[in-house]
């Protein structure tokens, strides 16, 4: 039995210790907003935050989470930064198919949390681990800058 705090709620899950957090969230807890894209930390679709830090949940063994608080896209709107990011995403019509955007939003809100006024190269460093197959990159960049000003 493994204890987790997900989106402010304490949970206990009966799963193998090496099971990636992604599948605990999706298949056990039922939070499907966090997406599966590659399984090898190359695409960022599975990005969640541990104590505000972005991590790739597809390669993160659930037993290694420990007491760190897990935040997923379902709850990121409850943070001031997350809400601004979501709003900027809608205002600038960033989204196309939307599948990668959970991870993009989690990476972007973590960036703004630690760097309220990111430069282009800050955005490169924080966002290049998140692939978007629809190619919404230019709008992601613009939306991060807008959220920073909001």
């Amino acid at each position: 039995m493994i204890a987790l705090n997900v989106n402010g709620e304490d949970r206990s899950v009966d799963v193998p210790e090496d099971m990636p957090l992604l599948w605990v969230l999706r298949d056990v807890i039922g939070l499907t907003g966090t997406k599966f894209g590659c399984g090898i930390a190359q695409c960022g679709a599975c990005t969640v935050q541990l104590d505000g830090q972005p991590v790739r949940s597809c390669v993160l063994p659930v037993a290694s989470v420990g007491t760190r608080r897990v935040t997923t896209v379902e709850a990121i709107g409850a943070t001031a930064g997350g809400k601004k990011v979501q709003q900027a995403w809608l205002d600038l019509e960033v989204i196309q198919c939307g599948y990668c955007q959970s991870g993009q939003i989690m990476s972007a809100s973590a960036l703004l949390e630690r760097n309220p006024d990111p430069s282009d190269s800050d955005i490169d460093a924080a966002m290049s681990g998140n692939i978007c197959r629809c190619g919404t990159y230019t709008r992601i960049r613009a939306a991060i800058k807008q959220a920073a000003k909001a």
Binding site: R11, W89, D124, I140
Partner: protein, 768 residues
């Protein structure tokens, strides 16, 4: 504790057949119309389509439903996969219905080929950038018809002439008295009004919604994880499977030792198919660990020794020796060639490509005693249904397909073979199964964009302009995959020459032909279809001709578009906006590409720089588009930005290769996708147009490879004729030959380090 799939409270539940039926019933106004039949009068419908019901005799294929609660629902057969089609279609209806876009919701129509046959695609399908083009008139007429019935109902209730009443934002107003009635209150009465025979549509100058960048209707639930893609569907008692098909294309399963897999906690069942094996578990992780623990013996079959070099060699031989099928021949080709002052010829090669959408292939299936229920995102719901019927032996009306939002498809989900596989797996167990392919399975068992080998030549006159143009295309038939019984040997596959057969230039003496050489590899369409392939050849070669003639590439195209006003329009606009001809730093270059595809015209200019080590940096793209009336300019711009990046990604990195019948690439580390730090700035400019809307979802993908090839030539003087572009050919003399790799091992820290070092490295050229 939480158990898999035991907690409906925490997981959003998908709509079931029952809830969908309930949703679609109720009073009010229900107007059915023919999506592709602008000349067909809309009719009142007594019932709505029901998921899985293909026998009911509906004459309409799309519906506007106005409930007595005022809810306005549009039931439309085209699938949303990010391209904005639901927003566009809803805009056309709302414009004439006189409601705001925020007052309507859109739902997918259930599969029914009889009802939703998209003439352009020969079945219920979403692809080829056809949706907006096909429905431009019918959707507006339907909206106007419903509005007229609502107004008539209001006029009758007030006992006033219809001419004294107007509609706006879902309200009918009696102008002289200011009395108002909402559509919801009028819906029942409007449903009893006669359907008007004559419908007058607005003049484009009166449009209030069309042409405005209205907010998309499908995005609110995409910022908080609320929307349900196929992969997110959860049904009670569901288990999760993952599958491995024979790694050699066409091979079969010989034997499998299950012992180690069965010992893994959470593994439930192991299912064998003729060419694959699947492990079903309590969750994906158990299934994946189980699959990895299997000891599988494959029969490699006929492709055991197949390699990419063999496929390309066969294409080359076919191109040079097989008799082609003539696609177009006009004028005295042979005579002009003899008389030419100069001839230029070149050979171009294009690789197989995987689609690699972000959402891997998946499908939820429950096969019961006498029916089969499927939850999946597909571009071809009726094919999914037919495949399931074949596997289960059930009649079509016992196959219930729930279509879901798609996390990108780009042509991949124009084929439903993975649905049939999922049904074959689920058929062997009693409970519902969600089959999810790993990314590796998704890339190695795709149906690929075919490889091509094209020989092109031209004769130039004394002015340097082409007097004769000859394009020999060689590749497989994609259409053949969609025709029962295959494609006839002597028949032209139009897709193979799309983009080649009629370039937007004054080329009166022209020959375009096609040699068919089907590869021993499954193939299908890929974003931009025939044009993505052919325009790379046509526009690269046009640049070669300009160079051979000693002319500026824009000037050269200008001279060839004197009778092509729409092509000339985008060419001039892009030249102006890009600052064509202004100086760039050393090592930089600016390329241009011009084309028409899917009813839209586009010219693009790309600025790049190439380092001495051969690395390409994309700085700035400027695109001019004439897509007719832009229904939603912001969506047009988004599709151009995304489509261009999609094509640049392929041109820079993508190519599927084979060794011993196996696909060499497996995941995003070796089938690379362009990343945020590599994307250029993109500017889009519209040529104002009152032409009917052209397609836009794939248009910019077509521009990408040729505009990059031409920019590389401008920057380096080297002409690259094979995709993806080989950086080794771009190294300056003396550069370290080992310093550049097309597929660097990427990880997040590596990328972060790269991004940081770029910041302190040589200064970036200013993107004007």
């Amino acid at each position: 504790m939480s158990k898999p799939f035991s907690s409906p409270k925490t997981g959003p539940f998908p709509e079931t057949g029952a809830s969908r039926r309930a949703f679609l019933q109720g009073g009010g106004l229900l107007l059915g119309f023919a999506l592709l039949g602008a000349g067909v009068k809309p009719t009142l419908a007594a019932t709505e389509p029901v998921a899985g019901d293909v026998t009911a005799a509906f004459s309409p294929d799309a519906f506007i439903r106005i409930g007595t609660d005022g809810k306005i629902t549009l039931i439309l057969p085209n699938i949303e996969m990010g391209q904005g089609t639901h927003t566009g279609e809803a805009t056309l209806i709302a414009e004439e219905l006189e409601v705001g876009l925020d007052q309507v919701s859109v739902v997918d129509a259930p599969p029914n080929d009889k009802l939703y046959a998209t003439a352009a695609l020969g079945g219920q399908a979403t692809g080829g950038s056809t949706s907006m083009r096909a429905t431009w008139e019918s959707l507006r007429k339907a909206g106007a018809t419903a509005r007229m019935m609502l107004v008539a109902a209001a006029a009758a209730q007030w006992s006033v002439p219809v001419s004294e009443c107007g509609a706006k934002l879902g309200l009918v107003t009696h102008q002289p008295t200011g009395r108002q009635l909402a559509y919801g209150a009028l819906a029942d009465a409007a449903g009893k009004e006669p359907v008007p025979a004559d419908v007058k549509l607005k003049n484009p100058s009166d449009f209030e919604l069309i042409g405005k960048s209205l907010r998309r209707v499908d995005t609110a639930g995409k910022v908080n994880g609320a929307v349900i893609y196929g992969i997110d569907v959860r049904v009670p008692d569901m288990k999760v499977a993952t599958v491995s098909a024979c790694p050699v294309l066409g091979g079969t399963l010989q034997d499998v030792d299950e012992k180690a897999a069965r010992a893994i906690p959470g593994v439930r069942d192991i299912v064998r198919l003729p060419n694959a094996v699947a492990v079903i578990g309590d969750h994906f992780w158990a299934a994946k660990k189980g699959l990895e623990a299997l000891d599988i013996t494959w029969n490699d079959g006929a492709n055991a020794k197949l390699g990419s070099a063999d496929i390309m060699a066969a294409l080359k031989t076919a191109s040079e020796h097989k008799t082609p099928i003539m696609a177009r021949k006009e004028g005295d080709v042979e005579g002009r060639l003899k008389a030419a002052s100069k001839t230029v010829e070149a050979t171009y090669q294009l690789p197989f490509l995987a689609h690699a959408p972000m959402e891997p292939i998946n499908c939820v299936v429950h096969v019961r005693a006498d029916e089969c229920e499927i939850w999946v995102g597909t571009q071809v719901p009726t094919q999914a249904q037919a495949g399931a019927a074949q596997v289960t032996g059930f009649p079509l009306n016992k196959i219930i397909v729930h279509n879901h939002l798609i996390g990108g498809a780009f042509g991949r989900r124009l084929v439903a073979e993975s649905v049939a596989q999922a049904v074959a797996i689920a058929k062997q167990v009693s409970y519902p199964v969600k089959v999810i392919w790993t990314r590796e399975e998704d890339i190695q068992h795709d149906l690929y964009r075919p490889a091509y080998y094209d020989r092109i030549s031209a004769g130039l006159g004394p002015d340097g302009l082409p007097t004769v143009w000859i394009d020999h295309v060689a590749g497989g038939s994609v259409l053949g995959n969609y025709i029962p019984g295959g494609w006839p040997d002597d028949k032209l596959d139009d897709d193979a020459v799309e983009g080649a057969i009629k370039p937007p230039y004054d080329l009166p003496v022209i020959q375009v032909d096609w040699v068919r050489q089907d590869p021993p590899v499954p193939i299908t369409w890929w974003r931009g279809v025939g044009s993505t392939h052919n325009v790379f050849v046509v526009e690269s070669f046009m640049d070669e001709l300009a160079h051979a003639a000693g002319k500026d590439p824009v000037e050269y195209r200008r001279a060839l578009t004197k009778n092509q006003p729409r092509a000339a329009g985008v060419l001039e606009l892009v030249a102006e906006k890009s600052g064509w001809g202004t100086p760039l730093p050393a090592g930089s270059g600016r390329g241009i590409a011009l084309h028409d595809a899917f009813g839209s015209y586009m010219a693009a200019v790309l600025e790049i720089s190439v380092s001495s080590a051969g690395e390409i940096t994309l700085h700035r793209a400027v695109v001019a588009v004439d897509c007719g009336i832009a229904i939603n300019p912001n969506t047009v711009e988004a599709q151009i930005e995304g489509g261009l990046i999609f094509g640049l990604s392929a041109a820079l990195y993508s190519g599927i290769t084979f060794t011993n019948g196996r696909v060499d690439q497996s995941n995003f580390h070796d089938y690379r996708i362009l990343r945020n730090n590599e994307a250029p700035k993109i500017e889009v400019y519209h040529v104002k147009s009152l032409e009917s809307p052209g397609g836009i979802g794939e248009t910019a993908t077509v521009s990408a490879a040729p505009v990059l090839a031409n920019a590389i030539f401008a920057a380096t003087g080297k002409r690259l004729r094979s995709l993806p572009f080989d950086r080794n050919q771009l190294k300056s003399d003396g550069a370290d030959k080992t310093s550049v790799s097309m597929m660097p091992p990427l990880s997040v820290p590596v990328l972060a380090a790269l991004a940081t070092s770029e910041e302190t490295g040589e200064s970036e050229p200013e993107a004007a």
